[in-house]
């Protein structure tokens, strides 16, 4: 199994080895040690491979990922899995700003907290955050799904397109929703009590899917 120690090996050697992999075949698992906040670790992979990174990474880890399955045993800096096309990225710790930004596919899992602008401009990726997400998450999110099990910061889903956001009922931020039959009109609850699931008139706390179609407001209790 190839092991790259970034304390003694150039990052370029790691990324070049990952870029040389067989795009359609089986590849050996990679292990990366001592990242110590390095940037652009495991970017631009386009091959089915498992990569495990032992430590915290800097900016844009797993950027543009395609097909690979990347696990970070630590925290990630801004822009983790940015523009991911497919594959899977798992962050065991926390993620910094704009995690999963503009990603087109694949699955990004953050087991800790994500910071602001999580899923900004997402274009098809699925993002699951077990902890909290920061303000302006899913800003201009076009498609894909964002599930947050913790708390969401202010302005969740600001300028939303057709992405689906799943958040616990009664979030602190306001939700910007477009009501059916009132295209262009936005409903902006001023406090968390107003953000209600209207589909069943359900006010219980639980996971609710907020689905903003082009002219319809649909809320589903799960």
């Amino acid at each position: 199994m190839p092991v790259f120690d970034l304390a003694t090996t150039e990052l370029r050697a790691l990324n070049q080895a990952l870029h040389a992999l067989d795009k359609s075949g089986a590849n050996e698992d990679f292990e990366v040690t001592n990242p110590r906040g390095s940037h652009a670790v495991a970017v631009g992979i386009d091959a089915p491979v498992n990569v495990t990174i032992d430590g915290s990474v800097g900016y844009y880890c797993a950027g543009m990922n395609e097909q690979a399955s990347i696990t970070v045993n630590g925290n990630a800096g801004p822009g983790v899995a940015e523009n991911m096309m497919s594959g899977k990225v798992v962050i065991k710790g926390d993620a910094s700003q704009y995690a999963g930004a503009t990603a087109h596919g694949g699955l990004l899992v953050i087991e800790g907290n994500a910071s602001s602008r999580c899923g900004i401009s997402m274009k098809g990726v699925d993002i699951v955050v077990k902890g909290n997400i920061g303000h302006m998450s899913a800003f201009m999110a076009q498609s894909g799904n964002l599930v947050v099990l913790g708390d969401a910061g202010d302005a969740l889903g600001d300028s939303l397109y057709e992405a689906r956001l799943c958040a616990r009922h009664g979030q602190k931020p306001w939700c910007r929703l477009r009501e059916k039959g009132n295209a262009g009109r936005t409903y902006r609850p001023s406090n968390q009590a107003s953000c209600r699931c209207r589909h069943h008139g359900c006010e219980a706390r639980g996971i609710h899917a907020l689905w903003l179609g082009q002219d319809a407001l649909q809320l589903q209790c799960r």
């Binding site: 906040g37 800097g58 801004p78 700003q97 602001s116 303000h135």
Partner: protein, 125 residues
């Protein structure tokens, strides 16, 4: 230390000059430093001065301020500029990225977090 850009620094400079504070440049960061100095001269501590800054300063900023007895950090409400902090029993550290903190002693066990927007973090002897 200021990462960002203030949009009302010209107006603030006029007001501070009227209050008798001397400013030597057209730079916005100098205005922020003079503003905080002015607030503290009115009796506020650094933490209170940074709280006032959130109301009186317009723009985007991450401030890291040190005085003889205190250390404070504040980010504007939009918080675009990166910031990360680390705290142990021995120290509090600030950087714009984790990589800047990675050689600090005990960093592996430090509490590492990103300061929240519009929130003053303040330590004083």
């Amino acid at each position: 230390m200021h990462n960002g850009s203030l949009s009302n620094h010209n107006n603030l400079r006029r007001e501070l000059t009227r209050e008798g504070i001397r400013l030597e440049t057209q730079n916005d960061s100098e205005v922020a430093a003079a503003y905080l100095t002015g607030e503290m001269a009115k009796g506020k501590n650094l933490g209170e001065a940074l709280t006032s800054a959130l109301d009186d300063l317009d723009g985007f900023f991450t401030f890291v301020v040190g005085t003889k007895s205190g250390f404070g950090v504040v980010r504007d409400p939009i918080a675009c500029k990166p910031a990360v902090m680390a705290e142990t029993d021995a120290y509090v550290a600030f950087g714009s990225e984790y990589r800047a903190l990675v050689n600090l002693p005990g960093i592996e066990d430090a509490k590492v977090w990103e300061p929240e927007p519009a929130t003053v973090y303040f330590w004083e002897h």
